[in-house]
Symmetry: D2
Subunit: 363 residues, 4 copies
Amino acid sequence: MKRKIGILTGGGDCPGLNAVIRGVVKSAIIGRGWEVVGIEDGFDGLLYDRCPRPLGLEDVRGILPRGGTILGTSNRGNPFSYPIEVNGKTVLTDVSDRVVVRVKDLGIDAIVAVGGDGSLKIALELMKRGVPVVGVPKTIDNDLMETDVTFGYNTALETATDALDKLHSTAESHHRIMIMEVMGRYAGWIALESGISGGADVILIPEIPFELKTVCNAIEGRRRRGSKFSIVVAAEGAFPRGGTRVVQKKADETMAIERLGGIGSFVARELTSCLDMDIRVTVLGHLQRGGSPSTFDRCLGSRFGIGAVELIERERYGEMICLKGRAIRSVPIEKAVRKLKLVDPRGQMVTAAKELGINVGRE
Amino acid sequence: MKRKIGILTGGGDCPGLNAVIRGVVKSAIIGRGWEVVGIEDGFDGLLYDRCPRPLGLEDVRGILPRGGTILGTSNRGNPFSYPIEVNGKTVLTDVSDRVVVRVKDLGIDAIVAVGGDGSLKIALELMKRGVPVVGVPKTIDNDLMETDVTFGYNTALETATDALDKLHSTAESHHRIMIMEVMGRYAGWIALESGISGGADVILIPEIPFELKTVCNAIEGRRRRGSKFSIVVAAEGAFPRGGTRVVQKKADETMAIERLGGIGSFVARELTSCLDMDIRVTVLGHLQRGGSPSTFDRCLGSRFGIGAVELIERERYGEMICLKGRAIRSVPIEKAVRKLKLVDPRGQMVTAAKELGINVGRE
Amino acid sequence: MKRKIGILTGGGDCPGLNAVIRGVVKSAIIGRGWEVVGIEDGFDGLLYDRCPRPLGLEDVRGILPRGGTILGTSNRGNPFSYPIEVNGKTVLTDVSDRVVVRVKDLGIDAIVAVGGDGSLKIALELMKRGVPVVGVPKTIDNDLMETDVTFGYNTALETATDALDKLHSTAESHHRIMIMEVMGRYAGWIALESGISGGADVILIPEIPFELKTVCNAIEGRRRRGSKFSIVVAAEGAFPRGGTRVVQKKADETMAIERLGGIGSFVARELTSCLDMDIRVTVLGHLQRGGSPSTFDRCLGSRFGIGAVELIERERYGEMICLKGRAIRSVPIEKAVRKLKLVDPRGQMVTAAKELGINVGRE
Amino acid sequence: MKRKIGILTGGGDCPGLNAVIRGVVKSAIIGRGWEVVGIEDGFDGLLYDRCPRPLGLEDVRGILPRGGTILGTSNRGNPFSYPIEVNGKTVLTDVSDRVVVRVKDLGIDAIVAVGGDGSLKIALELMKRGVPVVGVPKTIDNDLMETDVTFGYNTALETATDALDKLHSTAESHHRIMIMEVMGRYAGWIALESGISGGADVILIPEIPFELKTVCNAIEGRRRRGSKFSIVVAAEGAFPRGGTRVVQKKADETMAIERLGGIGSFVARELTSCLDMDIRVTVLGHLQRGGSPSTFDRCLGSRFGIGAVELIERERYGEMICLKGRAIRSVPIEKAVRKLKLVDPRGQMVTAAKELGINVGRE
């Protein structure tokens, strides 16, 4: 059966989005002869009579190695709570009806929604109002349930690990403490895994509120044993035991400027009180979202795109594509967005870090 | 209980070996206070009264980002069939008794054998003669059963995908067919996954003997549709339907020179007979084994090393560490070496390639 | 004065070509309001009534980091000796008149010819027939006179040095001799500079015919002093003293397959006769031409493009843009193509290699 | 004549330092049979009876591709103004006599001082007190006179350009202004050259105090012409016309934390007042100093090291090695440290940026 499908990318930028788009377009057109349209700027593209862009094989040529998304994305676009200006004031309004109507008017049979937690929840709500949707999980932080991992995470890890390699030379040459702040508001996956791969000495994650004294002791211990430098990786959402998160808002809702006074600087200030060492902070920031996707993310993104088309073919609406081991599977979106996938403080990864002699903020 | 354990790396070089060694050393010493010795040049290091090298925390400092293995490896060293010179002639001799005795003499309680198919089989045999062994799977080709993936494979994929990115510019600028030969004597995983990630147009793997006519048609079809260039990725063990493998010996048993007349050149010659296009061959060769391990391989290698020490602690000898999903598990070595993990011609990965419009040598 | 200028890229692919094109288009349009057309596939694009492609700011968006050339290139296209089929036979014919007429018909005021030795000579001849031309030097091998260096060379060096880093791990782990063959038919610059930067032990270049005995001794000497591996870099045009070049044709005129039996394999075969060591050969080939240009090449390419437009503005036809120190200058094309810039066997670079203990094929 | 020479690295970390050290050691030992000692932690290593480390060929093995300096560096160590604690207070004291005596006591015939502006001035003063010194220029910012360029700068440019490539994807996908702050307190070379190579839209450098209105107009203009994003590169020492520098202290004298409120954040705040766009800031910071040196810096560093040894051989004390075009030369240190090499606002590089349509803070 010939179909017309739409694809949109929502939420923060993520390496591999173009691989998903290309996967959807190629598998829909080459094998099935379907029609594909690209909805621009996330769910925003379904409002205000904006016209989706027809996507042919030509349009996805050469995009596989490119970061970002050719469809653009949006941070505003929740149609259930959309900022509408009324008498000079911004009022959050439910404009989802317009979306439902617009999809029908455009003759779109089904939508592939590529997004994180937030975007998938919107997709689920639209589904309940009759819009056939399938989901593709996207999160740089790796905090989505029901999938072993998503695209973008591996590229972000490569960027973070490469940065740690770079900081090592300066730390060693100058006998310094280098603190690197990485993404991860609620989940410490990037900090934990890049810290292990980049040879960090201390890793601070939101799931394990840290004790400053312990961190000081760990660094002091290293110095006593002859290592004149230390590398600390801190997830942006890490916070001291008994304290509160420095970053409360979404990274994409607040200006990066505010984040500059984030956890990295906080830890630096606190460490100066207990250590007589030179300290430097690096905030990796948006570099983690950019760049050409790694081979892992290109392959996974492509497979996710193909899988989404297969879900539509089998009319498994409301499902989300996922990775289990080496296999592509699917689960109800509902199960995936119920809660975030956090690091288990007693799980294998944290234990591995400890076995390697890394201080994770405690003991 | 305090233990003295040995670690050796056998078979071909592989990015991540040093991460494993470091993982073993750190987890054995820091948490357990054990003693670790490094056996040099694979099983060779247990012959001829060679002394293993004591490995302390100092010895593994800074090796995480480094390719290769600080312990060296050997291609000869099968103690069950060892080349001994007798009267000027080389005779393959069973010298495994010496190994068994040597391990006892050295007071080694258990050995971590890091290796592929071949090395693990040797480890298993030694096990049967009373040497306590645990295995860590190593294969660049990803052809080992019972583990989702091993370290080294991801780095090799990055190298191959990066090379494909590079060949794309020349292919496009010169309207050429670029053929790239990658590793994979029996299993086509590197060709298949790097081909998908690098945007190849044709992928040839040992598991699907190819039809030249089909390949020609695919390239011709692309030209008709306006694409003046094509990229072909061929696993070194690929061969034409009805033909035989060009590479029969192990890559490490034969000189690379002989391999230069491998499958890449063969396909180039054959394609010139049916296509009037400029063709170039690149043999990626040893570049795939080298370089700093990717973040994925550093983390996985470290976890495998830790896991091996835990296996020894629990006296699970004869077992091999493996990855299932995101978790480290173990299986009997016996199960892992029974046969090679080949690409399933009807499996998800091949189907994905086809969905993306890639020709895989058939249809 | 408003002008209409054409740009073409000739000869082999080279990272930075797109930077030149972008530099020409931006500086011609933004500051001067000129018109730019892109002539496709080198001088071929001026034959057979092919229409150049108008190039606006939109057309050069995003091409700066991309390898290759958006205009394509050609290996055939010498209009003074063009392969024309006459009665089924290919006859080399002077069709330069057509080019001269075509340029006039198209209303092109001046042409920016980006190319190496060959393309610049053609440009010079067209100049003599009344076509206003300015040149931009392009050579991956760095063998063009009158410019300190050209774009593309630095990127090729990065690729070669990175490959040497990779081969080091395998060489060390396996106690092997690794031979890497790099570009450089007549000039050994890539071999020499990447060899110095990549820590090679032996460097073979066309300018210094090598003595095999000397090379053997150097490797033997290393082994005696405890280094169980050696890295050899050989320019494709290197040859033994008293011998002849293995590669006689242009790399772009002959199939890569033939080159596989090149100098790397030759040296490997010869070394096996005097050394009892494992040897492997890697032919870097087209990987050197590909990939995203390095920052050096992007900046230099951009400046060359701008410089070419300034030459046209000042009507300095027949001149070629060049780099002297940190400054962009120009010289008569005639001076640049008179002879190749070869490595001086007594110059600073060869002396530097020797000071570092590298064997360069002699002594 | 056999000599004993010392080498020290002063000031900030810089990729290529190890290449210099290796070049000095290899050329002094292999060809000349000299003795080399490594003075640790800059000039600090000549105080308090610290013993230099003997450097043999073994000690420099494998350091060529490594960032940082195996000798360590120091930010305190000016022996003419050394922080000495007297009665609990830190007093800057001239302790240069100790250095002069120490050098004599150690039997060091000459010292290779690798450093920037500051370290070279110290070297010059020691020279006047009878310590034979030759200089090797080191500056990541490229602000040293009398040499075309120094090692480290190219690697820093690669890091900055790569970061700009990464920010491009996010900027495009999110329709954002991305501001990247790079090194350059007094000289804007890194900002200018990486901005050109990374396709920036605005470049702010200390040499051209910027007008905010102009910058706003440039970005607005882009938006009107359809480009929904803009990339701004700002040297840390850039400042608004009529304003003052935000960064007054040396990057290495002040904590990075303070710098987080640097020029990037300042520009972001100011731009929000005139533009209704999403803005993000990235402070590249220490990442620019780290990492494996590029091929250019490895080769240049090696040649500088060799050149320094040759200067000592010819007893050209008080001279500094430099690069002119492709040749290694030398100049009196005195000439090199007289003033900083700043970007000429009317020079070729700024003009090139303007020709490419980049706003440089004015017009």
